[in-house]
């Protein structure tokens, strides 16, 4: 492996003496991770002391989760050093990193479904030893004590499948506590929790700090972790952009620009210009994933020819909303499209009916050429019309024309995104749904995409529903904006009022 570890001298530091208050427990420097041509993490470094909570924040695709994976040993860094108490752990497999003293609280995991909560916690207390066929009797007592501490005392003998979502997260926390790690990494500590549960979890995480553990919280925005962290490191596109207290980072110019954009030019058309009944009408939409409620009573409407943006952080429920409209997830509530209910229609029928979704994961046919991908989109059109539509799209996205024969998988991220949108437009949609088109794209590509959308808006009567957490991208094109937060619509209004009325939540 090309692991150019150790930019720092390797002289093993002597075990920290009593002045340990100042010596970092975890010290990361020059961390680099590349996936092919994409630099996901570039020169990230920080120090984490015992009894300290550091927030690592950044928008989707900023590389913060990759940093967490690199520390845990789930991915190997291309360069850089990760020292735990002076010992190099970069590039080690995860089970050795775990034994060295790092624990990770997963956001989503697959617990043992046939074992009780107690047994799931006991699992984390077991040694990695093939010959240990009988568990240490102390394990049972320890597991019960940990369960009490995280508030699972009453449900010890239940199966994970019967637990509410918050209790499943408690169980993950319990497993991390069981390993008694020196450094705890927590992935999106509060995603999907109610405010009461957030308070419980905050207390548990403070408990880690009081025990002298070093804690790294990975989250999307400063606000959600501000009350808990001692310091914040903000990342964008793989690079560090700001470090300091939560308040300092929130005031930081670069951070503000990344999350809110500079002064945004908006060009909204007033709603009264769109007459008649709405093309898409969503009422009282509820969606559950098992125990977790992803959408609560969501309602919105989009008029023919309108450009509507749904702004929301990761996990707010944007993708779920779009998937419900496309018929991909079961829901309760009502979704109507040009006056007819979409209930009981298959996803394919909905797509043929004119609602075409561009998913956040792009879903290109990677082994086909650009041209083949486009032609698949235009499959249902007569040949002449398909050709005409393709020529028009080549005009809208000139780069695709020059790449016509190239295999889709080898395109850059921005080109892939343009191809995905173009492929959707080949289907001549009445309503185009764009889910996070800017995900992981560099600013220059963003601008190209932005221009293409603007042209689309001005030269065609197309109706667009855009989901974004990148406010800079979502506002300029929008006629109207919805804000989705924790599964609910919390604000609706024209884009020029957004920054004043709803912007603070996006730092």
């Amino acid at each position: 492996m090309t692991l150019a570890v150790l930019k720092t001298p390797t002289a093993p530091q002597a075990p920290a003496p009593q002045t340990a208050g100042a010596a970092p427990r975890l010290s990361v420097s020059g961390l680099v991770k590349r996936y092919g041509g994409l630099v996901a993490v570039n020169n990230i470094g920080f120090a984490l002391r015992p009894g300290e909570i550091l927030g690592l924040i950044g928008p989707n695709g900023s590389g913060k989760s990759t940093v967490m994976k690199l520390i845990m040993g789930l991915e190997r860094p291309n360069a850089g050093s990760i020292l735990l108490d002076g010992e190099e752990i970069a590039g080690r497999p995860s089970h050795r990193v775990a034994r060295a003293g790092i624990g990770l609280v997963f956001q989503h995991s697959r617990p043992l479904h046939r074992q009780t909560v107690l047994e799931n916690i006991k699992l984390a207390l077991l040694p990695d030893n093939l010959l240990r066929l009988i568990a240490d009797p102390g394990v049972e007592r320890q597991a019960r004590a940990i369960a009490e501490r995280v508030g699972l005392g009453a449900v010890l003998d239940r199966l994970p499948g019967t637990l509410p979502f918050a209790d499943l997260r408690r169980m993950e926390l319990a497993k991390a506590i069981a390993r008694d790690p020196k450094v705890v990494l927590v992935d999106e500590p509060f995603a999907g929790l109610t405010s009461g549960e957030v308070a419980d979890f905050s207390a548990l995480i403070r408990g880690f700090r009081d025990e002298g553990k070093a804690v790294l919280l990975v989250d999307h925005n400063v606000k959600s972790v501000a009350a808990l962290v001692d310091r914040v490191l903000a990342m964008y596109l793989g690079e560090p952009v700001a470090e300091g207290s939560a308040a300092e980072v929130m005031r930081n110019e670069t951070v503000r620009r990344v999350y809110l954009g500079g002064s945004i030019e908006t060009a909204a058309r007033s709603q009264s210009t769109f007459s008649g009944s709405p093309l898409l009408k969503v009422e009282n939409l509820d969606v559950f994933y098992g125990k977790a409620q992803a959408l609560r009573g969501v309602g919105l409407h989009v008029h023919e020819g309108e450009f509507v943006s749904v702004v929301g952080l990761n996990g707010a429920g944007k993708t779920t909303l779009f998937n419900a409209v496309s018929g991909l997830v079961p829901y309760s509530g009502e979704i109507g499209f040009s006056g007819e209910t979409l209930r009981r229609r298959s996803p394919a029928a909905i797509a043929r009916g004119g609602i075409v979704q561009v998913p956040e994961t792009r879903e290109l046919f990677g082994d086909m050429t650009v041209r083949e991908n486009l032609d698949l989109g235009g499959q249902h059109l007569p040949v002449a019309e398909s050709d005409r539509q393709r020529d028009w799209l080549y005009e809208l996205f000139p780069i695709l024309k020059s790449r016509g024969g190239q295999i889709a998988r080898t395109l850059s991220g921005g080109e892939q995104q343009m191809l995905t949108i173009a492929r959707a437009l080949m289907m001549k949609p009445r309503l185009l749904i764009l889910d996070e088109p800017t995900l992981g794209l560099a600013p220059v590509i963003l601008e190209q995409l932005s221009k293409a959308l603007e042209r689309l808006r001005q030269t065609t009567p197309i109706t667009v529903l855009l989901g974004e957490q990148n406010v800079t991208f979502a506002l300029p094109h929008a006629d109207r904006v919805y804000v989705l937060e924790h599964a609910r619509i919390v604000w609706e209004g024209p884009p020029d009022r957004f920054a004043a009325e709803a912007g603070t939540g996006y730092l």
């Binding site: 089970h95 990770l104 043992l112 240990r132 009988i134 390993r179």
Partner: protein
């Protein structure tokens, strides 16, 4: 713990089954005993397979690679004058060694590729046996000079005893802390690694245990039949039978596999008058159980309806 064991329906079912099985030779014909003997060896094949699939989460499409290695090693050695106990040990060792050689590279690949690797291993072994026909007997089969016994009851009791001991050991492993880690490795290897468990080590160990019992059972089977042939021990279709028996009996139960094996062999026999149609009927019944009772026959009996 002991109390929990004694009150579980599974425990009493097993005891009743074993007592009835042990006294069976007093009342039924040698022909039926012969069938059950075969079923018991298949039961061990299936139990060993369930440890890999049900617990480690790896689908081994080539159980017959391990069985065949054990069987042919034992058979060939015996043909060269080696005594039966040594042949049995050698068969088990050969299966473990072959299993490690296969598993080391195969466990590196993910998802369906592990399964594909194991299928290819079976095809390679099958070809080698045919190519080296002078030693292996090729397509005609290998005849071994010694058999353990010619008495049907003795053979039956040996098979029953071997199956009981294998089942106990495999069941104990599955229910031990190591079994718990193995299940975690199968369900969420990323998290298991982050909890400090060496996932590859545990899966490899499971593969070795599975290989040991498959190889030993294969070797014993040869000395019961007196012959070994590709069609009865190595062919992919035999492997499919082993797999169906395990899934039919109940995934992640270990002992359910025995029920599945007995059911398959018995059903094949009862339906023999149907001719070629019997295979179809048995397959259809297996399919129905897999689709509608994912917990398997054992799940039906113990009423511990679980999600597959």
């Amino acid at each position: 713990m002991t109390l929990k064991l004694v009150t579980s329906p599974l425990f009493w079912l097993t005891i009743v089954f074993l007592v009835v099985a042990a006294f069976l030779p007093l009342g039924v014909s040698g022909y039926i005993l012969g069938l059950l003997t075969v079923a018991y060896y298949f039961g061990v094949f299936s139990m060993a397979w369930d440890l890999l699939f049900g617990f480690a989460g790896e689908v081994n499409f080539g159980p017959t690679f391990l069985i065949g290695l054990g069987a042919y090693t034992a058979g060939i050695l015996n043909g060269n004058g080696v005594s039966i106990p040594v042949c049995l040990a050698a068969g088990a060792v050969a299966a473990v060694v072959g299993g490690v050689v296969l598993a080391l590279p195969a466990l590196r690949v993910r998802g369906p590729y592990f399964g594909l690797t194991t299928v290819v291993a079976v095809l390679i072994l099958q070809n080698l046996i045919v190519v080296f026909a002078e030693t292996t007997g090729g397509e005609i089969g290998l005849t071994v000079p010694d058999v353990i016994s010619i008495d049907a009851a003795t053979n039956y009791w040996i098979a029953l005893g071997f199956m009981t001991v294998s089942g106990l050991v495999l069941f104990a492993i599955a229910r031990s802390p190591v079994g718990l880690i193995l299940q975690a490795s199968g369900q969420d290897p990323v998290e298991a690694g982050a909890l400090g468990f060496n996932v590859a080590k545990h899966k490899l160990a499971a593969f070795c245990v599975s290989a040991f019992f498959s190889g030993l059972a294969g070797a014993l089977f040869v000395f019961y039949m007196g012959t070994a042939s590709v069609g009865t021990l190595v062919d992919v279709s035999v492997g499919v039978q082993v797999i169906i028996a395990a899934v039919l009996g109940g995934r992640r139960t270990i002992v359910g596999a025995v029920l599945g094996a007995v059911f398959l062999i018995a059903a094949g026999e009862v339906l023999r008058p149907l001719g070629a149609l019997s295979t179809f009927v048995v397959s259809a019944m297996a399919l129905a159980v897999i689709l509608f009772v994912p917990a398997g026959l054992l799940g039906l009996l113990t009423r511990q309806g679980q999600r597959a």
